[in-house]
Symmetry: C2
DNA sequence: TTGTATGCGTTATCAC
DNA sequence: GTGATAACGCATACAA
């Protein structure tokens, strides 16, 4: 089988059956104007001949591609790959394809990805912004052409589009309050890039919780980084060298929290007895580390599903609803890293 | 901006410039038969008008979609999402789109995904088989139509296609030998579905290593499961209730290994002193758990990159090379879970 | 209930 | 160098 046989078209089926291509086209879509017998004959023949409809041709004609474009920073991160899994789930159910691209947190790559997806004439776009991005022109063409854009997690405050998010302020507040409730008052925070709303709001929640409980904000206890494992470790070292060593720590990612935790362990300090820790995301590592990490869990797969549903079910803009912001619930998962009486359960 | 303006075409540019659409088409592709001045004018106008080429039309005409289809079991797993990240990386570099679908380890979904991707007329296919799959007809159409199919990790032994794999036998052998070298002789194994080659070969490596060192195979020490965290835990419990309690354990996934490890810890047993453990994959959890898990690491991102390169660069079948099997190196990452003199480093 | 004819936006084959 | 035109495979308005 050396030469590629060329793909079967509706014309081939039509010829084999002695009917017109129009009839075949209709019969394949179960158009009721076609007789039951013909319809059956066409579909059987299509099967027998190994027909696979050409999506390009159909899309060109109907101007619908049944394709969702996706742009995320990195797809190999627990939270993000779960969101994508959710997107793919619904898309598949609804007969949509998903084209995935990653920005690697670069503005330029995000723009280029957006252009590519525009050329692919996606029917909708799901985006979580790159760390760098502060300009949003590359999404305008989508909006102008009435292609629904849904932001997930790292949203765009300036654009009036659908958004699927969690209440990051509330989550930050809850996490910090939990530490306060355990009796801690010197509470540090590892913050992320403040031009991304999620990190800004988590920090604001932290600050508000302290304020509400009469605890003064100590800027020395707030450290900025990109919140990787390594940076979590380094930040902890910096904190340990500081004037006031915190008794507790709220981190805006699990990675940073776990880095900090390992740093403490490496120096013979105990968690939570010397420093209590809370992370953010509930990555698989969180329940595995010893002590297991208290953290904020987000419904990642669900976020993806909802995002896909929004894109697919989206009403046209000229109806009453212009854009929707859907806020999902988070959960404070309390584990050993923040609670002194260590009732730690190994089993999930 | 309520009504969607319809997308710009080469005709719009042609009209604006008073040239023909053919000239525009050529100029946009930097065809040298077009004068430098015209070319420049066209490209500038295209930019100014916000032109984005319609991929559907172009694909229909050229019969090339510049799209790679991908089928994996689940995309939210560390190893797999890294492979995909690698694929996307190269694809992006080469101007290809990536359409992702997951089989959820179901045969039926894999077949349906394959059909969808066929309809999308992907220029190539990258697959890692579902757990269930034992029939491979759904890939034949691709091969007959000369669409390159590359299997990654979970390959198809019956189909003559490109493959990107690791030497699972060697890895299983190396892992087991490492345990033997530490002085262990009662070594158990948690195996996966034997109809997937990767698990079969890992087990065969384990068996061979034991044989080569004069250790008898004890079938009671070989337990089958789907190798999840929970199943790893349960398998460990079963082993602990057995006649001969193993001194060491080689698991075909990190998840199972970590489940087993946590089970031991929950019962007050110590790793590696009571039971030494080795996993497989080097998931992020492996270096985080206490003690850190000795495991086999695979170059996951690299596997993805190579798979994408194979798909894109693929020579036509009528040249001399028909198919290639690329075997990548694995590495035994030795950590605290398998070595008694616990020189454990917390820092990566 | 079915057939005919046209166009979707590109590219490629001719011709000039 | 550039222009006219056909063709890719499908869906649909209009006829019959």
């Amino acid at each position: 089988m050396n030469r590629g046989k060329k793909a079967i078209t509706i014309y081939d089926i039509a010829e084999a059956l002695g009917v017109s291509s129009a009839t075949v086209s209709r019969a394949l879509k179960n158009n009721k104007s076609i007789g039951a017998a013909t319809t059956k004959a066409v579909q059987e023949m299509a099967n027998r001949m190994g027909y696979h409809p050409n999506k390009m041709a159909s899309s060109l004609r109907t101007k619908k591609t049944k394709t969702i474009g996706v742009i995320f920073s990195w797809i190999n991160r627990p939270f993000i790959s779960s969101v994508i899994s959710g997107i793919e789930d619904i898309a598949n159910q609804e007969g949509y394809n998903v084209i995935i691209s990653q920005s690697n947190d670069f503005y330029k790559k995000e723009v280029s990805n957006a252009h590519t997806l525009l050329s692919s004439r996606v029917d909708g776009l799901i985006v979580s912004l790159a760390m760098e991005t502060t300009q949003y022109d590359h999404f305008n063409t989508f909006l102008q052409n009435n292609i629904p854009v849904v932001f997930v997690d790292r949203i765009c405050p300036d654009l009036d589009t659908d958004r699927i998010i969690i209440d990051n302020f509330d989550a930050g507040y809850t996490a910090t309050k939990h530490l306060i409730d355990q009796g801690f008052r010197q509470i540090a925070h590892l913050e992320g890039a403040q031009n991304r709303l999620i990190f800004k709001e988590r920090k604001e929640g932290y600050v508000a919780a302290l304020r509400d409980h009469g605890i003064e904000i100590n800027e020395d206890l707030i450290l900025y980084s990109r919140l990787s494992y390594e940076e979590g470790w380094q930040s902890m070292e910096k904190l340990l060298r500081g004037k006031t060593i915190p008794k507790a720590l709220f981190c805006s990612t699990d990675n940073a929290a776990i880095g900090a935790l390992q740093c403490l362990k490496s120096k013979g300090l105990r968690v939570p007895h010397d420093v209590a820790i809370i992370g953010f995301n509930d990555d698989p590592t969180a329940r595995i580390i010893d002590p297991p990490l208290t953290t904020i869990s987000q419904p990642s797969v669900e976020m993806g599903r909802i995002a896909a549903q929004q894109v697919i079910k989206k009403r046209p803009y000229n109806e009453s609803v212009k854009s929707e912001t859907i806020i999902l619930k988070t959960k404070l998962v309390i584990r050993g890293s923040s609670v002194i009486e260590d009732v730690r359960a190994f089993y999930p």
